[in-house]
Symmetry: C3
Subunit: 347 residues, 3 copies
């Protein structure tokens, strides 16, 4: 089943040779053969390219009707008769690149919609697409080749680097963003952090939040995610870091490069992540802790202490994963019916 | 206390006979007596109709000043003197229908606001109400009798079935929606899912997400909830499925009919729910699992494995509810002060 | 490092005497000396004022280059040579007030943007700043000195008290709000709550939600947070209560004064909080429970029962904190490797 042409007019056809070159794959057969689209193993047809990486969908490979499949060498023998094996080291990565041949990220359609409001002193780079009801504040600088979707807001003084995208309803304020940054629908960047002091009489007095958000190149912020600006000094997301939807980043959080922060994670103020940290869905980090590079935090974990680089932690409070699994197994035995007057615990 | 007429001008008065017929209730007394509004047991006055279902508010029934109360037969004797008992099988359902007599869902006020932007080739059905700053993309199809609130966005090529509502600031892109669908304020449907592959050098490469969101008839998406489109193939919510606020639905999730997904739940990609599954608040499901029809997942649960139909699971990792409760009781005993050198555990 | 003048043109200079008077601090030296800005201990320069409260940053005090530091008396001796000690009881509170001398909350720039849509019968108070594409519904009443940001929505009939702020993309409907209320970016107030009844045939029938949201003076709602209106009767947030980002408040929740609700908390319908209750990040409360004044709920807790005033609870299900910590320590021992055939549990 091809991508719905109502939404994804395919840019094909593309030759097998170009597909293979793009994916860094070897193949046998006629390189001039053309393909119309990509598809999943289960649904692709003879003019579509699929992929298999890992074991989860291995069964689907044997019955696929795809015309070609990106595979690792060890799966080559399972590619059905009549289907071209595109053998490479990293099939999913190859698929990502091949899919972009058929469905490239739409280029900006240059132009500023007549309803867009551009403030005094704001500059819009060459080739930008500024959509209906977008609002660009005074003195903001939008780099070349950016796309602002309907109702996008870029606050006064903000800087947005080349080739960035602000999708519908997203907003950035008090923010300096690099190139290739993406704010997905309804993302909120630069909001005032949750900073106040309570008097003896019980009145909450706001601490002026006078920092910024700094987004490195290629940072992506998911739909409805929130990144608060710094209280004094900045909230910084390092190059390539990606936030899924509904993530909350508190003031003065800092991340290194390429961190992966999955949906509904919350990171409290001043926590710091190294490079390539992975925070699984719905996990939470208290403030002022450090999570070292390459560490991984499990889904729904509650991290209350520093995590050394390269460590996996799970649970709430978070523990090293190995210990947690062992303890949970023993706890379940506590839940078993008693036998001979004892709980189910192994004697 | 009637509903505030500033917001809810009541459409009454309505006769007791009509109220009873609407609720499928029997009653004694003059069917021509009229009522002005509905209200709660605690606050309703003599010209208002309340309801009691279950035991939680049973005490409030005895002291209510409501003029009439929808009750089950077993509570009829507790209805105060002078208050009309409207006896039926399902009082709350009856109340829902009676309340709609006084406060019907506002019908669309047909017309397209002069500030709405309607793209080339888009079609707007008869009797639609398109509000200020709504944006309808090229080739989109809005069915008859729809309401688009202020700043609503319907992306290019989308289809919205008859009698649907997109409230203020909500957006749908890459989406085909049935009839009677409701997107509440700030809902985000069709966003790009969290799909990328990481190279050895640590660069995250986006996998083009070329699927859609399919919303069945009468699906409702709560405020600020997010439903990502499919990576290849679709994310599908079956007819009557309702999402509360701040729910996250990952790419290629599928649900059957009438699922109930409470606030702040997260469902990871490719998980599949049967019919009438209930996911309580803040629970999370990993990807690629199956939750059978009629299963119920407890609040804050973390579901990591398939759940058989009709099963209740709780905890993180989620366990059958019965085992979990027993184990937690024993765990609490571990927390009790020691007596005679032993923990509090039952010997 | 001063606040970035691109975003925060400093309103200084301000004299030491005025700074001290604002903070209620004593000091030695020339009160006419002027300062340019505030800053953090680590980054401030000789013309900037910092603060130290508590021990976390005590080391940074000794090496600070700040020209003056707000401290408690016990830290006065650690203030470096040449740096002015501003001694007071509550340094962070003093800092909040001093920072506002340099960076006051921007006053409204009075005027209604030509693109704002003001409905029939709506009234806008003196000195309001109504931004581009704001939409104010019929009969709404905006008090004097309010700010509505780009795309802000105030629904028909709503009331907004003096000096309030609705930031970009936020919406309030069916709401009566006091003075000094702030809705941060993308906040959603007044949405229809998750109220429906299911028929035997499996159809979900909406219960009309005919209540309102009442926001007391100085209530703040964080970015992307949602506050549902009452089903019958109101959802009420007491004066000074503050919600962080991505909080979900269900229909008919009530809070007292000054509650602090941290990011990603969820409170189910009809729960009631007293005064100054603190709910830490990602915690959840079931419906219909009462949390007494001054109680504190731990991060990620799941509160299923009433919490007495002044009590701290943690865990899911939530327990008194002391018991929980003891039990978790014993649980971890269950996870330790066995020695001599026994688990690590203390005999």
């Amino acid at each position: 089943m091809a991508a719905d042409p109502r939404f994804y007019p395919a840019r094909g056809p593309v030759s097998l040779a170009e597909i293979a070159a793009t994916a860094g794959a070897r193949f046998g057969g006629d390189g001039a053969r053309v393909f119309a689209d990509v598809g999943s193993l289960a649904a692709a047809g003879p003019d579509e390219v699929a992929f298999l990486e890992g074991r989860r969908y291995a069964g689907a490979l044997k019955t696929t009707r795809a015309g070609a499949v990106l595979v690792t060498a060890d799966a080559e023998a399972d590619v059905p008769e009549g289907c071209v094996a595109l053998v490479c080291e990293a099939p999913q990565l190859g698929y990502a690149r091949v899919a972009a041949l058929f469905h490239p990220q739409p280029a900006p359609v240059p132009g500023i919609h007549p309803t867009a409001v551009i403030g005094p002193g704001a500059t819009i780079g060459d080739g930008c697409e500024i959509g209906p009801y977008a609002v660009v504040g005074a003195g903001a600088e939008i780099g070349p080749g950016c796309i602002l979707g309907p109702h996008a807001v870029v606050g006064p003084g903000c800087v947005l680097g080349a080739g960035s995208i602000i999708r519908a309803h997203a907003s950035m304020v008090f923010c300096i963003a690099g190139a290739g940054v993406v704010l997905h629908e309804g993302a909120r960047v630069g909001n005032e952090g949750f900073g106040f002091v309570t008097t003896k009489a019980g009145e909450h007095v706001t601490v002026p939040q006078i920092g910024r958000v700094i987004l490195g190149d290629r940072v992506e912020i998911g739909a409805s995610s929130c990144v608060d600006r710094g209280a004094a000094g900045d909230t910084v997301l390092g190059p390539g870091t990606r936030l899924d939807n509904q993530v909350q980043i508190g003031h003065n959080v800092k991340t290194g490069r390429g961190c992966v922060i999955v949906a509904q994670v919350g990171i409290a103020g001043s926590a710091e992540l190294g490079d390539y940290v992975v925070l699984a869905a719905q996990s939470g980090l208290v403030g002022h802790i450090t999570v070292g590079s390459g560490a991984r935090v499990g889904a729904q974990a509650g991290v209350m202490n520093d995590v050394p680089a390269g460590t996996d932690v799970v649970g709430s409070p978070a523990w090293p994963a190995r210990e947690f699994m062992r303890a949970m197994a023993r706890l379940r035995k506590l839940g078993a019916p008693k036998r001979n007057g004892k709980t189910g615990e192994t004697p």
